[in-house]
């Protein structure tokens, strides 16, 4: 091998290896910085207190953060999943071929809007519009615990519900683009076969497109979930953190997710010990998103067959 070739090959391979190591480094460094704080922690890491102001007496647990993170992401997924499926079907099966590409581009534009803008828009413009909707859900379905009065009940703007709706909008382009890609690969022979048997367009979709693309759609939704779990600034703008009250299992609760908690307490990062508590929370978030992304990629990878 010529020296130029050897150098270039080693350089590119090194870059590849570096990326692989990087993931390990992220986990390692977060762990190393979390350990001192975890050792100094006076309460269980799985409780729901969070008092890190006094670095001599650290008291922090992740129960509440985990619950709110999962709740917000689930609300977002419940809204985003059917809509994304609809858009993907629209773009691949319904839209005139000439318009499908520009339409897809329009949806992708949503991904280019910075999340801080979604946060501001959600709080100042969307939340007032959602308020009567939330009130109506609360009035009519309030007997179901998840729609009951939350821990910030009278002030139902900065709730998990509002946050979930905004998050759903942010997830649309992610879930849609991947689902669309899978749907586009439905074998034409199958579609034509169904059509030849006299199936209506919906029946074609139900019998060929959906079964073929199901795994890809689920994988795409899990990718969306991974994104939702880690969304930071939009949620820290929208969610209101009630004083002295914890998560109540209602969508009209306030609270903080892992990411929004870390982001809204950036002032405490001047103290390395207090920062350790947040790094511990960040480590849990990292592991959570790692597992979700890992699962999503495995599903999509299987479907792509490579």
């Amino acid at each position: 091998m010529r020296p130029g070739d050897r150098i270039f090959k080693n350089l590119t391979t090194g870059a590849g290896i570096f990326v692989v190591i990087l993931i390990g480094l992220i986990g390692l460094f977060l762990l190393l910085q979390a350990i001192p704080a975890l050792q100094a922690n006076q309460v269980s890491f799985f409780s729901s207190v969070w008092e890190t102001g006094d670095s001599k007496n650290l008291r922090f647990g992740i129960a509440d953060l985990l619950a709110v993170t999962v709740a917000t992401s689930l609300v977002a997924l419940v809204i985003a999943m059917p809509v994304s499926l609809g858009i993907a079907l629209f773009l691949t099966q319904y839209a005139p071929p000439r318009l499908a590409r520009p339409f897809a581009y329009v949806i992708d534009l949503l991904a280019a809007v910075p999340s801080i803008i979604f946060g501001l828009w959600g709080l100042l413009f969307l939340a007032p519009v959602l308020e009567p909707v939330a009130q109506w859900i609360n009035d009519t379905l309030g007997w179901i615990p998840i729609f009951g009065d939350g821990n910030i009940a009278p002030n139902i703007r900065s709730t998990i519900f509002t946050a979930g709706v905004v998050l759903a909008v942010m997830l649309l382009p992610i879930i849609t683009s991947l689902t669309r890609e899978v749907f586009e690969r439905t074998p034409t022979a199958q579609i034509e076969g169904a059509l030849a048997l006299g199936a209506t367009r919906w029946e074609v979709i139900r019998t060929t497109v959906l079964p073929f693309g199901k795994a890809g759609y689920i994988g795409a939704s899990m990718l969306g979930l991974g994104r939702a779990l880690g969304e930071t600034i939009a949620l820290s703008i929208i969610l209101f953190i009630p004083v002295g009250r914890t998560f109540d299992w209602s969508v009209f609760d306030g609270g903080a997710t892992f990411a929004s908690k870390i982001a809204s307490n950036y002032a405490e990062f001047n103290d390395v010990t207090s920062a350790g508590a947040y790094i511990a929370a960040g480590l849990v978030l990292f592991l959570l998103t790692f597992v979700v992304n890992f699962a999503a990629r495995s599903i999509i990878g299987d479907k792509k067959g490579d």
Partner: protein, 308 residues
Amino acid sequence: MTATIPDADRPAVTPAFQQVSLARKTKNGVATVLVWLAFLIAVIPLVWVLWTVVESGITRIPYTNWWTEDFSLVLSDEVGGGVLHAIVGTLLQGLVCAIIAVPLGLLVAIYLVEYGRRTRLAKVTTFMVDILSGVPSIVAALFIYALWVTTLGLPRNGFSVSLALVLLMVPVVVRSSEEMLRIVPDDLREASYALGVPKWKTIVKIVLPTALSGIITGIMMALARVMGETAPLLVLVGYSSFVHWDMFQGEMASLPLLINNERATNSMTEGSVGFERIWGAALTLVLIIALINLAATLIGRLVAPKKK
């Protein structure tokens, strides 16, 4: 008897060209309406968000001092000043991030396409790039904090923000470049080898230029994406209302950080100074992102291989 025949092999019981029953027609109609509705539902927030940004942000943007001054000499509730300091910070942090992320991402993509084809390491790398693209921005920020501030004992500054952005930009660059390199026809490579050109020179002189337009487009889009990130800024640098050029020392503004800072310190009611600043900065950010995207398309077209 019929039960033993597999479903697929059984002859159609009913003639295929039958009239479509009302139930089937209705279902089909409902599905069509729902699918169109889903698309409209997605377009509403997009139009709404963009309209909000333009309508609320337009107040101060047309004045020259918005683009040429900073907020250092204006009070928080005083009309006047501009966001030059934040524009400088955003562009500077983005640029430094790109200087690190682009070569790194490009090398990884070259490895995956040219050297690693079907090897175990390439598979692992692809997988890790995918995982890296799922790492939340706040986790990237915490990692850089743990590395830069706690372990190395260096101060929080603009450069550490750029490092965190690198983590977010690299996977996007790798993915888009990889895709572009893959569609370069193998004939080109083989023709070059046949002429005795070394592999590395083939890659640098033949493969990369062929894929260049797509690669540049991908890079610029990735850059536009990371410039709107806020989370790393909160953890890794403080806000300053002065124009600040030093990446390695002191506080540094940027548009998302300015928005967040004004949001925390000012009233956000419509028509107030805080409101105008926040949405003015938001519109400025969206304009910059749109400009970069536009430039990406134009440059992509300019350097695209000539077709007959």
